[in-house]
């Protein structure tokens, strides 16, 4: 278990402020250009370019090993040794004020399997709160975040109960609430409903759609039906590259690339 901040060498001096605005900041929340990633000499991502609108869901689909999860980890700053450029609200993430830790507060990431900390439900939601002002309003924030994550009604009477007593589906929604509590500008979800029961899946999808009305949301999923239900745009990845992207209805109804067609038809994807 190693935290590796070796790649966290930021140019702390003369940092552009968060308000350094690109001309189209109003329309674009995330701009990724020619993103590349190599780990242990293996190419994970290459020439990945796309942009996200300020709200709505973008689903990332593709076969296992396509680089979807790695893409999210690059965007969130958990992986930092990538090449190319990533700009959140017009600000280059490599020059983010406060470094990668601050960036991660603005770009929330929910893992595939829920990881709750060994404390109460309430403390879990508040775990990311750092400032005194945020902590002073913790009660309101806890309620708001849990409501957004569609969990409030189920836990409002036992906020001090251990978070580990919740079911897997509830734990995943708690993770979403915990990420929302720090008011991220963007939320990345890595197969958030994998291995959950249909009811939990439905609740999480509803919650995601609700969140996406205000916040851009990127969801990696293997479930094509889920990508369709979430509406929004879809990015299809294979072998570390974006093969096709566009509005969901169009991509699913009339895929332009043969690889996409094959994948949608549950064929084996062979991009070469």
């Amino acid at each position: 278990m190693t935290i590796d901040p070796r790649h966290e060498n930021f140019q702390q001096e003369a940092l552009p402020s968060f308000d350094t605005v690109s001309p189209n900041r109003e329309a674009i929340a995330l701009q990724v250009e020619r993103l590349g990633l190599q780990l242990d000499g293996k190419v994970i991502l290459q020439e990945v370019s796309f942009s996200l609108p300020v709200k709505g869901v973008t689903s990332v689909i593709g076969p296992s090993g396509a680089g979807k999860s790695s893409l999210l980890r690059c965007l969130n700053g958990l992986l930092t040794q990538w090449s190319g450029s990533v700009a959140v609200n017009g600000c280059d993430t490599r020059q983010w004020r406060g470094g990668w830790d601050q960036l991660r507060r603005h770009v929330g990431l929910i893992a595939q399997k829920p990881v709750v900390f060994n404390t109460s439900i309430r403390a879990n939601v508040c775990f990311g709160l750092k400032s005194w002002r945020q902590r002073r309003h913790a009660d309101e924030l806890v309620e708001k975040s849990l409501r957004q994550a569609a969990l409030w009604d189920e836990v409002k009477d036992r906020l001090n109960a251990p978070a580990t007593t919740l079911s897997m589906g509830q734990q995943q929604r708690l993770c979403i609430a915990r990420a929302l509590a720090i008011k991220p500008r963007m939320l990345l979800l890595d197969e958030p409903t994998a291995s959950l029961d249909p009811h939990s899946k439905q609740l999480i999808e509803q919650s995601m759609l609700q969140i996406a009305e205000q916040t851009p949301l990127v969801c990696v999923t293997h479930d094509l039906a889920q990508a369709q239900r979430l509406q929004g745009s879809v990015i299809f990845m294979c072998d570390g590259r974006i093969i096709e992207q566009g509005p969901g209805e169009q991509l699913f109804a009339q895929p332009q690339r043969i690889e996409t067609r094959e994948f949608i038809n549950w064929s084996v994807c062979d991009c070469d």
Partner: protein, 282 residues
């Protein structure tokens, strides 16, 4: 290859394993049994709680002063070494490059292999003579802390490595910085394992004789240390002293009694460590 042949091979390999394992289990059991059998005539509460205040110095009286001296040295050494061990382990986990990590591990494994008497000799030259601390509680505790440091570092690393990576990543994903990760995630999650490592180090400290022989202990004339710069008397060196009086049967049985108490003390720390490990597992 038919079934009976496979069963035959299995029986043979099982027998070989048992033949090799039995002596390994039997020898320590026999030694422990022998110690307690020899110690039984002197082992009572008065022996353990009686302080040697007269000229008998634990030969004709109790061993309470020695017991306390051993514990005092072990506790001081652990208290001194623990922060450095934790700091080193955290440096290893957070800041060290993979090359530095390999170097640190190799260094601490090597340090663990150095005979404790060498540490004792260094302590004698540097602390006792050069720093003029004399043969004292402080000199002994510092030398013992140096002996324990590699063990504590490796124990602390093992405790930190038991924390699942996903746990740290979940904290990282929330924007927690390294200090938050340490104080709010790692330490609350691993304190039981850290304490287990500390107890095992205490047990090791109680079993060390060589490093404190030159630096902390005297064989007679001292009951309680007056200050950090006073010498101390310990169970380990007491046994050594009594064993040299090999002709006197009473003295020898007191040596057996002291040895049994020392074994019990080490066993108590070992058992406590096991209890904590079980608590953590639950």
């Amino acid at each position: 290859m038919n079934l009976s042949h496979l069963q035959y091979r299995d029986t043979i390999s099982k027998s070989i394993v048992w033949l090799l394992a039995i002596p390994a289990l039997l020898v320590p059991t026999i030694i422990l049994g022998y110690i307690f059998w020899k110690a039984a005539p002197v082992l009572d509460w008065n022996f353990i709680s009686g302080a040697a205040e007269g000229i008998g110095f634990g030969v004709t009286e109790g061993i309470f002063a020695q017991l306390l001296g051993s514990l005092l040295l072990a506790v001081m050494a652990c208290v001194m070494a623990a922060p450095f061990a934790l700091g080193t382990a955290l440096y290893y986990c957070i800041y060290a490059s993979s090359r530095q990590q390999r170097l640190l591990i190799a260094m601490f494994n090597m340090l663990q292999g150095i005979p404790p008497i060498v540490f004792g000799l260094c302590g004698l030259v540097v602390l006792v003579n050069l720093f003029s601390w004399g043969v004292s509680l402080l000199s002994g505790a510092v030398v013992l802390a140096m002996v324990l440091l590699p063990l504590l570092v490796l124990n602390t690393l093992a405790a930190l490595e038991r924390i699942p990576l996903k746990y740290t990543e979940a904290g990282r994903a929330l924007g927690l910085d390294s200090s938050d990760i340490i104080w709010r995630l790692w330490l609350p999650r691993s304190w039981l394992n850290l304490l287990t490592g500390l107890l095992l180090a205490m047990a090791r400290a109680l079993s060390e004789t060589a490093p404190i022989m030159f630096t902390a202990t005297v064989f007679s004339g001292v009951v309680w240390p007056d200050s950090l710069f006073s010498p101390v008397t310990t169970l380990q060196t007491h046994i050594f002293y009594l064993a040299q009086e090999g002709n006197d049967s009473q003295v020898i049985s007191i040596a057996w009694g002291s040895a049994a108490v020392l074994v019990l003390l080490v066993a108590v720390f070992g058992l406590l460590a096991r209890v904590l490990k079980k608590l953590e597992a639950d």
